[in-house]
Symmetry: C2
Subunit: 338 residues, 2 copies
């Protein structure tokens, strides 16, 4: 009988027990007698039975699915977090439903749909721009945010963005730079604000000039890094070093200034943020702030799972450490600029 999938009834019949006993054998083996258990297990093996998750979920009022909200799947930054999430959720037999908040019609509505219809046991929010109101549904499942999130009381996992920025600035200051610029992320993003703040405070702490015209606006993409390079090239008084809020922007920036005939770090020092894989393969390799994205995903998944399984709303948030990775894109400032 290869045609149809065996049901719990088929197994029960084969083992000469009731469906209830089969179910118990699977969920709480301890309560069924040894002999029965063996009979059931062999019947399962023989019939090739697999529990039908849909039926099980319906009965148990759960879904076995976690929704992951992100603004853009194609961004490698998020995919690393996804990998971390997956490494925890998959073994725990939870599926991940990826919801691209930017694609498709009416994403807000679709989201509400998912949440309200109990489509998911949990929610991971990677999109820093989702309106918190959307998430305040009466019957929202446990959720965890992977970014700072001030408005909502949702537990979160995040990195020390301000400290990362401070590390970058401190490193450049120690090298002797006194004119340190910054390329920020999109203004609406919470990460942007934290890193910008960290940058500003670190400059002050080192007694360095804080100049608004040395803070350029980007959007984390390579293209915006390249655009920032054009602005830098056109400046009358250029910073001798730049801290960029993402490695991707740093890649774009470095490529653009190199093509314009400048050398890194001889003419300008660069520090990125993220430590994406390519950072070490660039020439020069990129000095950056390591952000353990896989770990972010892992911790988020762990927190979410514990909330789901315990049924409690754990409000504990977690901050993950960052670290300066010293490579070749930062060096002493050009002579005569001190």
């Amino acid at each position: 009988m290869d045609r149809k999938i065996a049901t719990i009834q088929d197994v029960a019949r084969a083992a000469g027990v009731s469906a209830a006993t089969v179910s118990r054998t699977l969920s709480r083996p301890a309560v069924v007698a040894e002999a029965t258990r063996e009979a059931v297990l062999s019947a399962i093996a023989q019939t090739g039975y697999r529990v039908n998750a849909t039926a099980s979920n319906l009965r148990r009022q759960r879904t076995g699915t976690v929704i992951v909200l992100l603004p853009n799947i194609a961004n490698p930054f998020f995919s690393q977090i996804l990998a971390g999430l997956s490494s925890i959720l998959t073994p725990a037999r939870y599926g991940m439903l990826i919801a691209d908040t930017k694609s498709g019609p009416d994403p807000q509505d679709r989201l509400a749909d998912y949440l309200a219809s109990g489509q998911a046991d949990g929610l991971v929010v990677l999109d820093g721009t989702i309106s918190p109101a959307t998430l305040e549904m009466p019957s929202r499942p446990p959720a965890v945010a992977v970014c700072e999130w001030t408005q909502s009381a949702m537990p979160s996992v995040r990195v020390e963005n301000d400290r990362g920025a401070a590390l970058a600035v401190a490193h450049l200051a120690e090298l002797g730079h006194r004119r340190i610029g910054h390329v920020a992320g999109p203004p609406a993003n919470v990460l942007t604000r934290a890193r910008l703040e960290g940058y500003r405070r670190a400059l002050e702490m080192h007694g360095l000039p804080v100049r608004d015209d040395w803070v350029l606006e980007g959007d984390f993409t390579m293209a915006s890094g390249a655009a920032a390079a054009e602005v830098w090239l056109a400046m009358a008084e250029r910073p001798t070093a730049l801290f960029l809020s993402s490695d991707e922007m740093a890649v774009g920036f470095i490529g653009a200034v190199q093509r314009a005939g400048f050398r890194v770090p001889r003419d300008v020092s660069i520090v990125g943020f993220d430590n994406i894989e390519i950072a070490q393969h660039l020439s020069p390799p990129l000095t950056t702030i390591r952000q353990p994205r896989t770990r972010l995903g892992i911790r988020a998944a762990e927190i979410l799972l514990s909330m789901i399984e315990s049924g409690t709303r754990d409000e504990r948030s977690e901050v993950i450490e960052v670290e300066l990775i010293l490579r070749g894109s930062s060096g002493p400032p050009p002579a005569g600029t001190r």
Copy 2:
């Protein structure tokens, strides 16, 4: 009553009709009387009813979910395809269940689980190394592969890998190169074979030497590209140009030879494959073969959907065109090497 989610029964009661009528109003509005329909719709709005997908799926013997098998979520190459898939599947109200075939215990078994328990209405295979046997389950749902796939009769969407390789070689040959090497992908991967074959045939067609020691083995990663560079650097008689089977490997290769003091394309010309975003931001920008990854995902999703909805096994495969993108990493060979 914000506590619990309204069921179809609640709606029926509120509208003064039976549950069946509510269901019909939603699925086949034409068959219910105008007045009834309005009453039902207003009751739905009033109760905030959302159909419970789990129950619906159980009854209709479907899942509303498509499984996507991939070897590594964190790879930006795949995430672009995912974005394409998502842009079609999400509006069609199918969820994507991402299954990382490399993570977690016993991936093969987990996969079999998913398929056998009818967890999914469809399957997208992005992993070129999955054993076809695994996919030949008696009750496998419609599936589509996004790569060449010779063993199985599964429909597929793929790019002209051999032609891409030929384009790369032709370009280098036209520039005057006569010693053209190749860095291949992992041997088990079908893409590897197609590109390697295309490379070899193109060399022959141009009357150029085909030397096995000029074919290096990689695995598509930047690290393996850097490793290939070490091998190249140590060669007694070096190729003056290389075609690499992925842009990531090209990035690793270029970085490594640049750090060793070589210049691209002055000392060696490089052509990659994929046209990932970073290609244009490198210095020099990377000449490569464009592979429309988003479109691959879109077409795969469209084919899969049509198979699911029509219930037929559409065996049609589709080949998507590639294109040579001319940038700065390729140029004439060093003097005296012709």
